[in-house]
C-alpha cells in the first residue's frame, strides 16, 4: 500500500476514463453509481470481488431502518424522527455527528420508495413470516436480491461495472484527488477520474490490521463478512491526512460458532441460546451472567465478552432440555453422554467443568411460579445467572464452541455535509467523496441498531452520487 510511482503505467487517455469513479460494490457504491449516472455523469464502478461474491456485506444483510411517521405495509407501526434520533443517541452515547445525523434520519424516509423505483422488492409484514419489526423494512430475499436488482438497474442506465478490480491506493495532493491506483489481474494502472466516491468499507478482513489493533487476540477472531474488506482505501486516505473518525481499537463483535469459516459465514454462524445454558472459558470457568441479556442485543454483548476470554474462545454448555430450546444452528453442537466426556471432547479440564456445573446446579432456585422458566435464578453464585437458570442435569450434554465474530469496525474517515472526505486541517478533498461503512462511524462511532448500516449506505451513497455528479458537471 506504499506509493510506488515507478510501478505505474502511464495514465490512460481520458476518453476511456469515467467522470465519476465509484470504489466498492455494496449498497453505498450502487446507490452512488446510480444517482451519479442519473444526474448525467459517466460512471464506472470498481468491485474488488468477483461477480459471484459481489456486494460487500450487503450480501449478508436483510433489513434497513427507515423513519416513517405513519403506518406502512413494510413495518408494524410508525417510527417518527424523534424516536429514531433517541435510538441513535442511546446506542452511540450521543456521539453522532450533528450535521449528518438529521440528514440520515430525514432521507431514510424515502429509502423504500427510491429502492423500489430501482427495482428492489420488499417483503411486507403481511407475509406473516417476518420477525416483528416496527423500525426496519425487510428486503424480499435479503441483501443479495437487492444487490441483483441494483446491479441490473445500474447496468441498464449505463454504469460501467468492473469486477475483480482492486483499488490499491489513492493520491491526494493539495486538497484534490489526483489519481487512483487500480489492480486488475496482473495489470496495475493509474486512473484519473474527475471525482471518486469511496464506498469500500472498513478493514475487518485484514488480519494484519486486526493484529495491529487487537494484538494476539486478533488470531481468535472470525470475520463474519466479506473477505474483501481489507481497508486499502481507508488506510490510504488516513495516511494522506484524512481526518479519522471513530475508534480503531473497537469493533462490533457477535458471538459466532468457533467452527465457522474464517470469513463470510454471515448470519447463520451466530450462537443464540446463551440463556438456555451456561458459558465457560477454556479453563471451565464461568465469568458472566448468562441470563442477564435475553433481547437480541445479547449477540453483541457476548461477542465483546468472548474477545476478553483466554484464547478468545468460550463454550456454551447445554443439557438435553436446553438443546430442545436451541434454534437451528449451522453446525450441530458437540455432544456427549456425560460432563466428563464432554469436557474431554472440548479439551477442558473435566474436574473444572464438573465443579462449575455442580456449583451452578447447587445454586439454582426455582421460580416463584413453577411454570415460568424465566423466573429460575441462582442464589449465592458469582457471577449469578439471574434468569432462566434451569439445572443442567438431563443428559446428553452439549456444547457450542464460540468466538468473537467481527461484523464491522468503528474506524472511518470524517466527511462533510456533502460527504466529501475531510482532511486534518478541517478542509475537504474537493473531488473525493465517501459513503457507507467507510464513513458510518461519523454517525455510529459505537454501539449499533439493526438495519442502520444499510440505511447509511443508501442515504449517503445517493447523496455522494449527486454531489460527485454536480462536481464534475459544474
Amino acid at each position: 500500500m506504499n506509493h510506488a510511482p515507478h510501478r505505474l503505467s502511464p495514465p490512460n487517455p481520458s476518453a476511456t476514463e469515467p467522470e465519476v469513479l465509484v470504489i466498492g460494490g455494496g449498497t453505498a457504491a450502487l446507490c452512488a453509481a446510480i444517482s451519479a449516472r442519473r444526474a448525467g455523469a459517466s460512471v464506472c464502478l470498481l468491485e474488488q470481488a468477483p461477480k459471484g461474491l459481489r456486494g460487500g456485506n450487503t450480501r449478508h444483510s436483510r433489513n434497513l431502518r427507515f423513519m416513517h411517521p405513519g403506518t406502512t405495509p413494510l413495518a408494524s407501526g410508525p417510527y417518527p424522527v424523534a424516536e429514531f434520533r433517541a435510538d441513535l443517541d442511546r446506542a452511540t452515547g450521543g456521539t453522532m455527528d450533528s450535521t449528518l445525523t438529521p440528514l440520515l434520519i430525514q432521507h431514510s424516509a424515502d429509502v423504500p420508495d427510491w429502492l423500489e423505483d430501482a427495482g428492489v422488492r420488499f417483503q411486507p409484514t403481511a407475509s406473516g413470516v417476518l420477525p416483528a419489526s416496527r423500525k426496519t423494512a425487510f428486503l424480499l430475499g435479503g441483501g443479495k436480491s437487492m444487490l441483483n436488482a441494483l446491479y441490473a438497474t445500474a447496468e441498464g442506465i449505463g454504469v460501467e461495472i468492473q469486477y475483480a478490480a482492486e483499488v490499491r491506493d489513492l493520491m491526494i495532493r493539495e486538497g484534490r484527488l489526483e489519481q487512483v491506483l487500480v489492480a486488475q489481474g496482473e495489470q496495475v494502472r493509474a486512473w484519473r477520474p474527475r471525482a471518486a466516491i469511496a464506498c469500500c468499507g472498513g478493514a475487518q478482513a485484514n488480519r494484519d490490521w486486526l493484529r495491529a489493533q487487537w494484538g494476539e487476540a486478533a488470531a481468535g477472531f472470525i470475520n463474519r463478512g466479506t473477505p474483501f474488506a481489507e481497508g486499502q482505501v481507508l488506510g490510504s486516505m488516513l495516511r494522506q491526512g484524512a481526518q479519522p473518525v471513530g475508534d480503531p481499537h473497537s469493533a462490533y463483535l457477535v458471538a459466532v460458532d468457533a467452527r465457522s469459516p474464517a470469513d463470510d459465514g454471515g448470519i447463520v454462524t451466530r450462537v443464540r441460546c446463551m440463556p438456555a445454558g451456561i458459558v465457560v472459558d477454556r479453563n471451565g470457568r464461568r465469568s458472566h451472567d448468562e441470563g442477564g441479556d435475553t433481547a437480541s442485543t445479547r449477540y453483541a454483548v457476548w461477542g465483546q465478552r468472548l474477545a476478553g476470554y483466554p484464547g478468545q474462545i468460550g463454550y456454551l454448555i447445554l443439557d438435553a432440555r436446553g438443546m430442545r430450546e436451541a434454534p437451528p444452528s449451522l453446525y450441530p453442537p458437540i455432544s456427549a453422554d456425560g460432563i466428563t466426556t464432554l469436557a474431554a471432547a472440548l479439551a477442558i479440564d473435566p474436574v473444572a467443568l464438573r465443579t462449575t456445573i455442580a456449583r451452578y446446579n447447587a445454586a439454582v432456585r426455582p421460580a416463584d411460579q413453577a411454570d415460568d422458566p424465566a423466573g429460575w435464578h441462582t442464589l449465592g453464585l458469582d457471577p449469578p445467572k439471574s434468569r432462566q437458570a434451569l439445572p443442567l442435569t438431563e443428559p446428553p450434554f452439549a456444547a457450542y464452541p464460540m468466538r468473537p465474530g467481527i461484523t464491522f469496525t468503528y474506524h472511518g474517515v470524517r466527511v462533510d455535509a456533502q460527504t466529501r472526505v475531510r482532511l486534518g486541517d478541517g478542509l475537504a478533498v474537493e473531488n473525493l467523496f465517501a459513503a457507507g461503512m467507510i464513513m458510518a462511524p461519523n454517525i455510529i462511532g459505537r454501539g449499533y441498531v439493526s438495519g442502520l448500516a444499510m440505511t447509511i449506505g443508501i442515504v449517503f451513497g445517493r447523496l455522494a452520487g449527486e454531489e460527485a455528479a454536480r462536481r464534475v458537471q459544474g
Binding site: 422488492r121 417476518l130 424480499l140 435479503g142 448470519i267 447463520v268 437451528p328 449451522l330
Partner: protein, 367 residues
C-alpha cells in the same frame, strides 16, 4: 448420485436455510422447513415436493457458489424430488424408467407407435389405409372403436393403479403432523395449484431464465395444463357422442370435440414450446441433469401427441389420415403407459405436499 448422497445434501442445505431464513418471502418451503427442523427422510421428501423449482432462492442466496457453503437449494431439491418419484414407483423395477427418462420416452414412444402402425398395416388393407376416408366412421375403418377403447382404458387403468400406490405411500410417509384433512385445506391446496402461488416469488415473479424476474413459467405451465385438460375433455365428449348418442366420428370443425381438441392441441403446443425454450435458454445452475432430462422427456412426448393431433385434424380429409391417426394414437398410448414413470407424477406429489402444508398451516392458526 446415490440416494444417500442426495438426502444428505438436501439435509445439509436445508439445515443452513433453517438457520438463515432470508428467503421465506418467496414461497412456502422455508417456513415449512422451519417446522420440520429434524429434516428426517420423510420431511425432505415433503419439502422437495413443496418446492416448485422457481430458482429465486439460488439467486438470492448469500451462500450460493462460489461461497464455500455451496448452497444450491433448487438443485438439491430437484434431485431429492426425483428421488422421491423413484422411491414411490410401483412396481419397483419400473423405477428404472424414471431414472432413464429420456431413453424411456424414446423407447416407449417408438415402441407404441411401431406397435400400432404394425398392427394397422397387418389388419387394414392398403387400399383402405392409404385411401381418402371421409364421413361417419372414417376413423374406425383404420382402427375399430374397441381398439381405441383398449388403447385408452387398459394403460390408463394400470397407470392409475401405479400412481395411486405411489401417492398413497407418499401421503402416509409425509403426513407426519396430526392436522386433519378439511375442506378448507383442500380448497387452499386447489387454489395453490390453480394460481401456482409458490411459483410467483412472493409477488414479483421468478428467475425463470436468469437474474430477471418473470411470470413466464407460471403462464406457460398453466397454458399447457389447460391444453391437456381441453384435449382430454374433447376425448370424453367424443366418446359420449359416439357411444351414447351414436354419432360417429369424425365430427365437423365447429363441433364440441373438435373445438376442444384444437384449442387443447394449440394450448399444449404453445405452452410446451415456451417451456422447452425456457429450459433450453435458462441458467442450468439451479437444476439437476436428471430432473432436466425428465422434463424434456415428458415435454417432448406431450408435444408430439399435440402436434400429431393437430396434423390429424389438418389432413383428416386426405389419404394421410390413416397413418396420422395411427401415429397419434401411438403417442397417446406411450403417454398413458409412461404416466406413472414420468415427470407427470409431480402433479400428485406436489398436490399432496400443498395439501399437507395447508392442513398444517390451518392447524397452527387455529390450534
Amino acid at each position: 448420485m446415490s440416494r444417500d448422497k442426495t438426502l444428505a445434501e438436501a439435509r445439509r442445505v436445508l439445515g443452513i436455510c433453517n438457520a438463515c431464513g432470508y428467503c421465506n418471502g418467496f414461497c412456502d418451503l422455508f417456513e415449512a422447513a422451519k417446522h420440520r427442523p429434524r429434516l428426517a427422510d420423510a420431511d425432505l421428501a415433503h419439502l422437495a415436493n413443496l418446492c416448485h423449482a422457481c430458482r429465486n432462492c439460488l439467486y438470492a442466496c448469500q451462500y450460493a457458489p462460489p461461497h464455500p457453503f455451496g448452497v444450491n437449494v433448487p438443485r438439491g431439491l430437484a434431485r431429492m424430488r426425483q428421488q422421491s418419484y423413484v422411491d414411490g414407483a410401483w412396481p419397483r423395477p419400473l423405477a428404472a424408467l424414471l431414472e432413464h427418462s429420456l431413453l424411456a420416452a424414446l423407447l416407449v414412444g417408438l415402441g407404441a407407435v411401431g406397435l400400432l402402425v404394425g398392427l394397422v398395416l397387418m389388419s387394414v388393407p392398403a387400399e383402405v389405409l392409404f385411401a381418402r376416408q371421409t364421413g361417419a366412421g372414417a376413423f374406425y375403418r383404420i382402427l375399430p372403436w374397441s381398439g381405441m377403447l383398449a388403447i385408452g382404458v387398459v394403460p390408463l387403468a394400470w397407470s392409475g393403479l401405479a400412481i395411486g400406490i405411489g401417492l398413497r405411500r407418499a401421503w402416509r410417509a409425509t403426513r407426519t403432523a396430526a392436522a386433519p384433512v378439511t375442506l378448507r385445506a383442500l380448497g387452499m391446496a386447489v387454489r395453490d395449484v390453480l394460481l401456482l402461488r409458490n411459483l410467483s416469488g412472493g409477488g414479483p415473479g421468478c428467475n425463470d431464465l436468469d437474474e430477471r424476474l418473470s411470470h413466464k413459467r407460471r403462464w406457460l405451465h398453466q397454458t399447457m395444463v389447460l391444453g391437456l385438460l381441453s384435449s382430454f375433455a374433447a376425448t370424453v365428449v367424443a366418446t359420449y357422442y359416439d357411444h351414447i348418442l351414436g354419432w360417429e366420428a369424425p365430427y365437423p370443425l365447429l363441433s364440441v370435440p373438435v373445438v376442444l381438441g384444437t384449442l387443447g392441441g394449440l394450448g399444449m403446443s404453445l405452452g410446451i414450446a415456451g417451456l422447452l425454450w425456457l429450459k433450453w435458454r435458462g441458467d442450468r445452475d439451479p437444476t439437476a441433469p436428471e430432473a432436466r432430462h425428465a422434463d424434456y422427456a415428458l415435454l417432448v412426448l406431450l408435444l408430439s401427441v399435440a402436434l400429431t393431433g393437430l396434423a390429424l385434424l389438418a389432413w383428416r380429409d386426405t389419404a394421410a389420415m390413416g397413418l396420422l391417426l395411427t401415429v397419434h394414437l401411438g403417442g397417446v398410448l406411450a403417454f398413458f403407459l409412461l404416466l406413472p414413470y414420468s415427470k407427470l407424477v409431480h402433479a400428485g406429489y406436489r398436490f399432496i405436499a400443498l395439501l399437507i402444508e395447508a392442513m398444517e398451516r390451518n392447524e397452527r392458526r387455529d390450534g
